[in-house]
């Protein structure tokens, strides 16, 4: 809802009313979605007894926490912030009640929830944001198939299960490109990856591909520039898949994809095997580095990442023909990602970088897949004129 110029926010109109009672607040809330988005302003609301109420979020540029104020002497709390168009913000409440702090509370007034391996959180859609229709199941899109494939890895010293996506109308007479997805289980569960593949292929936005969804063991080790992980992907996984499935088997037909640490895992694998992968799809990659000193602010888990990124920045090498990169502008990693654009381009690679008003989360990564996958594996759309 966009307020007319000069019109006060709904919460301020409520505050100005005299004799606010429970029934008036009930009516106020019943008539509105929460948070209330009015043009570029967003009002978070909490109702209930508390000593303090805060909004917790990870939006760079906004104070964290955002302290809510009580409306008069009622049990309604609010805070209004600026929220640019097309924003999408995940948040939770933190309450202080009788000296006790209660954290990670989803917004009971807001049914929109996003999920991740860390649990769920409430989501606020800024003005103009729409969940892309290609992320939702389309009855007209023929579904591909997911097949689990156990692979015994000497490099990782464990057996790992790879979930393989076979596109609808999969034929053994066709040579398919191969997409390898780090954190594959999470991409399938939290970023609707199968639905996205089904829909983008159905709409001719991307080519038919075989996708391998891989899962880490100890993620912070395997995905943080691990030689064992790279060997698993390049020397075990790819040959196993190419022996089993009708894959094109060329560098240009192979893509490594990942988000956050998975982006580092993709890139560090490509650094070790530079002739093997034609393209990379990197989302909110953990490009943490130092230009001087060693205070990178990421904690010990990031030490190997910082070493890797610093080394690469000192001597950029060509890893692939094409790299698609995305990042949310509300996440701290946007600075590092922007900085890496020119570094990667300087090594002679074709690079496309996109940003969104979103954070470090799975739905951001889901929403960027159309741009990324259709650029890496263009579909036949440009040939079709019905």
């Amino acid at each position: 809802m966009r307020p007319s110029p000069g019109r006060k926010l709904a919460i301020n109109r409520l505050r100005q009313r005299r004799g606010l009672d429970k029934a008036a607040i009930d009516r106020f809330l019943a008539r509105r979605d929460a948070p209330i988005v009015e043009g570029l302003r967003c009002t978070f609301l909490w109702r209930g007894e508390a000593d303090e109420v805060r909004v917790r979020h990870r939006v760079v540029g906004l104070p964290d926490p955002l302290q809510l104020r009580r409306v008069g002497d009622t049990d309604l709390w609010y805070v209004a912030i600026e929220l640019p168009e097309n924003s999408r913000v995940e948040y939770q409440f933190e309450l202080v009640l009788a000296g006790e702090t209660i954290s990670f509370v989803n917004d009971p007034l807001n049914p929109r929830v996003a999920h991740s391996p860390m649990g769920s959180s409430s989501v606020c859609y800024g003005s103009g944001y729409r969940v892309p229709d290609w992320t939702q199941p389309d009855p007209e899109a023929r579904p591909g198939e997911l097949v689990d494939m156990p692979i015994r890895s000497l490099a990782l010293r464990r057996t790992t299960t790879v979930t393989v996506y076979l596109p609808a109308r999969f034929r053994r007479t066709v040579s398919y490109p191969l997409l390898i997805v780090h954190d594959g289980g999470d991409y399938l569960r939290y970023a609707a990856a199968k639905t996205v593949l089904d829909n983008l292929i159905h709409r001719l936005d991307m080519a038919e591909v075989v996708a391998a969804f891989i899962r880490p063991g100890n993620r912070l080790v395997e995905y943080a520039n691990s030689a064992a992980h790279a060997r698993f992907v390049a020397a075990e996984l790819v040959p196993a898949l190419e022996a089993e499935l009708p894959l094109a088997g060329t560098a240009r037909s192979r893509c490594l994809m990942g988000s956050s640490f998975g982006g580092i895992a993709s890139m560090s694998t490509a650094v070790r095997y530079p002739e093997m992968f034609g393209s990379l799809l990197l989302e909110s990659t953990s490009f943490v580095f130092t230009d001087i000193g060693d205070d990178h602010g990421g904690g010990p888990a990031f030490d190997p990442v910082v070493t890797f990124v610093n080394r690469y920045r000192a001597r950029p090498t060509r890893l692939a023909d094409r790299i698609f990169m995305s990042c949310g502008v509300y996440e701290p990693l946007s600075v590092g990602n922007r900085s890496m654009v020119s570094t990667l381009q300087s090594a002679g690679m074709e690079l496309r970088y996109v940003e969104a008003r979103d954070g470090h989360n799975w739905e951001n990564w889901r929403d960027r897949l159309q741009e990324g996958l259709s650029w890496i594996f263009p579909g036949p759309q440009k040939f079709v004129y019905e």
Partner: protein, 306 residues
């Protein structure tokens, strides 16, 4: 020559009237290979063609020719890979050339030499287009001299059957769909058309019949923002670049893009084929006066060529 080009048929059907207006009566050969796996699903098309359709089933024939000849199938797959690689290299060169031309175009044209730089930049784009087509010609020639696709046994059989069907038809209709598939099927199975045979073609079917096939989609989600020359077409008509779905696929409000598109193809008629369009080419296979075209000034106007 009797060639009628139509806009897309999905929302405004003009093919039935175009077929009825032909000065001939009898079977109409149909090519809907662009529909690929849906080729056999042609009930509605038969109705549009006034119940006179003889489907040439070219996509089915292509699949059959590949299935019957594994050596040829494998060679074709590799050949397509080489062509894809060439298309990729071409688009890489093209993107930078078109971006440069557009940037020059937006400069203040009162600055000396801007006009000259722009003309030179457009000539550079044309040179890249020519290089691409010449390279594709060479790749195709190598393939043909090595594998002789027109002499493969199953292809010869199909060519004979198609020639027979075409010989008994009084007109030819070509639908839209995948323009690359239509072109491939036309080249493989259909010889030169009788010059007097009326042809009605729409969307991708119209594109395949020109001298060169130009792919375009300003809204492409894959980020391919510039029109690409794809292949030489059948060459049934000359100096016409059919642009089906122009209003959906081109940013016609962007005068710089439109003018850049029109200038790139020089004196050719960039023919707008939107819903409901019916354009009967001249007997020489040229764009008729009054047809909607993109102009060098960056707008859609009527064609006024001599």
């Amino acid at each position: 020559m009797n060639v009628t080009l139509l806009g897309p048929q999905r929302f405004r059907l003009s093919a039935r009237t175009a077929i009825r207006n032909l000065p001939v009566d009898g079977p109409v050969a149909a090519i809907n290979a662009g529909w690929q796996e849906r080729e056999a699903d042609d009930g509605e098309l038969g109705d549009v063609l006034d119940g006179r359709m003889v489907n040439l089933q070219l996509f089915h024939r292509w699949e059959d020719a590949l299935a019957a000849d594994p050596e040829y199938a494998e060679a074709s797959r590799h050949h397509n890979q080489v062509l894809d690689d060439q298309q990729s290299l071409y688009t890489l060169r093209l993107r930078h050339a078109v971006d440069a031309a557009n940037e020059i175009w937006r400069r203040d044209d009162s600055i000396p030499l801007v006009g000259e730089a722009l003309g030179n930049a457009i000539e550079e784009i044309r040179a890249i287009d020519r290089w691409h087509l010449d390279t594709v010609d060479r790749i195709e020639a190598d393939f043909e001299s090595t594998y002789h696709p027109h002499e493969r046994l199953r292809v010869v059989e199909h060519r004979g059957e198609v020639a027979g069907l075409l010989g008994s038809a009084v007109a030819l209709a070509i639908t839209g769909g995948h323009v690359g598939v239509i072109l491939k099927c036309l080249q493989l199975f259909v010889g030169p058309l009788p010059p007097t045979m009326p042809v009605v073609a729409w969307s991708a079917g119209a594109m395949a019949l020109g001298e060169q096939i130009v792919l375009f989609n300003d809204n492409a989600v894959d980020g391919s923002r510039h029109a690409e020359v794809y292949r030489r077409g059948v060459g049934l008509f000359r100096h016409v670049v059919p642009l089906p779905h122009a209003r959906r696929r081109l940013h016609l409000h962007d005068a710089v893009r439109v003018a850049g598109f029109a200038r790139r193809f020089g004196g050719d008629c960039c023919l707008v084929l939107d819903d409901g369009a019916v354009v009967k080419l001249t007997e020489e296979g040229r764009c008729p006066p009054g047809a909607p075209v993109l102009t060098h000034e960056g707008v859609v106007a009527t064609w006024e060529a001599a």
